[in-house]
């Protein structure tokens, strides 16, 4: 057995817990999870059935943790897991799984399949069987603090550009601010208007907020690739930054995995609860709305729909705030079929969009989203995840769809009552 395979098996043995054992014993191969997975529904290839993606984990569990499996292994009747098999499974575990969690929502016996995929990725990654694109991104995140290599000078440059264009001074390292905003690299580079939008909203709400120069990046590549140590390191940077600045609430940006990683996995990664709250930007905006400090005007007549990012909605629990916010700015807000917690993934989550090997499959899977969009004939598409935005734009370009796309935070900011009267905050 190679050293890498040995490491993989050791990691997998450690991550198998009672829920995983219970799930693996409960599966009756009904195949319903396939109908919930866009990689199956758009290809009709049975190999993309979610529970099948866990086959190496199932066999290892059986061989290590059941009496009969151990007996079969002892007499040489159990099929051992090999490096070649894990390499083959890379396509199933990484390329064709966005960790959207839809399979976990429909399984009649209650199996949380995405939880098991996440654990299987831990073994795959440690053995070097993760896609090269994700390995590169993860290394960059550790070395530079950002999966896209965005360092502090690049952020400061963007902030100076925002100031030059809008007159807004973005607060940096303000101790004692109520909120600390995190960003995804994509927002810094591709969607800096998100930062401007938050600044305008905070200004109107009269709230103090800041960015942290030592922890502005929210994306957690460690979660996506499946290396808990790296995920912990990335979360720890944020925790250290937030505690140093003594903020009350850390705001996760419009990025799905960043939110799940920080809000739901973070405390378990660092081994203790936070001393601050974590809220997604949509939750913060909804709180402002409820408090009457988010004032908008001029709801648009255009027919709008909302793409629910899986990690924010199904995996993150932010289901209703975006709907209430949409009602503030859209007179004709229409829900796609299977919206809310049943929404279909854009096809690029879970690191798939960072994986060149998966690009073609991602675009095939996008047909499900295309179908959803065509069903409502929206004139404008709104979402709240920078990665979803990129993937949706790629998909719509491939299928020649002409639906303008905007982030919800920006849309809200565009409708602020005093949108033109902004200045520095913090």
């Amino acid at each position: 057995m190679s050293a890498s395979l040995s490491r993989a098996i050791n990691v997998l043995k450690k991550v198998i817990d009672a829920p995983i054992a219970s799930y693996l014993n409960s599966c009756v191969h009904c195949g319903l999870c396939a109908e919930a997975c866009l990689f199956y529904t758009e290809t009709h290839d049975p190999k993309y059935t979610p529970i099948h993606k866990l086959e190496p984990l199932r066999r290892l569990y059986r061989q290590e943790y059941t009496l009969i499996g151990r007996l079969l292994k002892a007499i040489g009747l159990a099929k051992p897991i090999t490096d070649a098999e894990l390499e083959e499974w890379k396509e199933l575990v990484y390329n064709s799984c966005t960790m959207c969690g839809r399979c976990s929502l429909v399984c009649p016996v209650g199996n949380d399949i995405v939880y098991m995929v996440r654990r299987l990725r831990e073994g795959m990654a440690i053995a070097g069987h993760a896609p090269q694109g994700m390995i590169t991104v993860t290394k960059r995140a550790i070395e530079t603090g950002s999966p896209m290599g965005i360092k502090l000078p690049a952020l400061k440059f963007q902030l100076s550009q925002i100031k030059a264009e809008t007159g807004i001074e973005i607060p940096l390292d303000q101790e004692g601010a109520e909120y600390m905003l995190l960003l995804s690299s994509m927002e810094v580079i591709n969607f800096p208007e998100f930062i401007t939008a938050v600044a305008k909203i905070m200004r109107q709400a009269g709230k103090t907020w800041t960015l942290c120069s030592e922890a502005f990046e929210a994306t957690n590549s460690g979660i996506q690739i499946g290396v808990s140590e790296i995920a912990e390191e990335i979360v720890s940077r944020i925790v250290d930054g937030a505690e140093k600045l003594r903020v009350k609430t850390v705001i996760s940006p419009e990025c799905g995995h960043a939110f799940t990683a920080l809000r739901w996995e973070g405390p378990n990664l660092i081994g203790r609860p936070y001393r601050f709250k974590v809220r997604h930007i949509l939750e913060v905006l909804d709180e402002f709305r409820e408090q009457g400090i988010l004032k908008t005007s001029g709801p648009e007549d255009a027919r709008m729909t909302f793409h629910d990012p899986c990690q924010i909605v199904r995996m993150g629990g932010v289901i209703e705030p975006q709907r209430r916010l949409m009602q503030m700015v859209a007179k004709d807000f229409v829900e796609m079929p299977d919206s809310g917690k049943y929404n279909w993934c854009c096809g690029g989550g879970g690191g798939v969009s960072a994986n060149e090997d998966a690009k073609e499959l991602q675009l095939i899977a996008f047909q499900r989203k295309k179908e959803q969009l065509e069903a409502v004939k929206a004139e404008r598409l709104v979402t709240a995840c920078a990665n979803c935005r990129i993937v949706l734009e790629e998909g719509m370009e491939r299928y020649r769809m002409d639906v303008p796309l905007v982030g919800l935070t920006e849309l809200i900011a565009d409708h602020l009552v005093e949108a033109n009267n902004v200045g520095g905050t913090g």
Partner: protein, 219 residues
């Protein structure tokens, strides 16, 4: 061994051995599974009405929106055969009598013609789900020896029970003996085959519902 000896064995020592293996097997399997434990969740929970492990225990009985139309054979076949199997087991007069002898508990049975009808429907539903398993690409792809073994050892007690009651093909004594033996095979293999899901499905639903319920997602 003639049919009378087989029946005596099945009703006597055979039954005792089967029940003993079943009980010890279940204890072993459940210990193997649940002694693995799980780490405490340190993330601050989000409390939402209807989002918990307990809600998921019953919520998963119902198909999610659109799934019934997509996979109607799986759902309807599954409902019919599970409910039919339990009704025949728990509401047939002879079964209630046996349970009363073992435990002292009893309840009113369903009339024999109704039990006959339910048995036939259950057998048909089981045959339909078997054909579907062989024909549907995903199920055929996923299925292995364990899946067909589980189907066989579940089907045989229902079939032999019906044949015995109707005195079809073989003598009543032989069919009754075969029925009891098939039930004993079912009991012996239950903990070690896919039929173990009868026990693990409940904690599985609870774990999933609890994990996602903490996030405020009713699943």
């Amino acid at each position: 061994m003639n049919e009378f000896q087989l029946l005596a064995f099945a009703r006597g020592i055979g039954f005792q051995i089967a029940v003993a293996i079943f009980l010890m097997g279940m204890m072993l399997r459940l210990t193997e599974i649940y002694s693995l434990g799980r780490k405490p969740n340190l993330a601050e929970p989000r409390l939402v009405s209807g989002a918990s492990g307990w809600h998921t225990l019953y919520r998963r009985f119902a198909p999610p929106p659109g799934m019934l139309q997509t996979a109607y054979i799986t759902y309807i076949g599954g409902y019919v055969f599970h409910i039919g199997f339990m009704m025949v087991f728990l509401l047939f007069a002879q079964h209630i009598k046996m349970i009363q002898e073992l435990t002292g508990l009893s309840w009113p049975p369903l009339p024999a013609p109704i039990i006959d009808f339910i048995t036939v429907v259950t057998l048909v539903a089981m045959l339909v789900v078997l054909v579907d398993r062989v024909r549907a690409p995903v199920k055929r792809f996923l299925s292995g020896f364990g899946d067909y073994l589980a189907w066989t050892i579940t089907f045989l007690p229902v079939l032999t029970g019906y044949l015995a009651v109707k005195h079809l093909f073989l003598s009543y004594t032989t069919l009754l003996a075969l029925h009891i033996v098939s039930v004993e095979i079912f009991l012996v293999l239950l903990p070690f085959t896919k039929i173990a899901h009868t026990a693990t499905v409940w904690p599985s639903r609870w774990f999933n519902g609890n994990t996602n319920g903490r996030k405020g997602v009713p699943v």
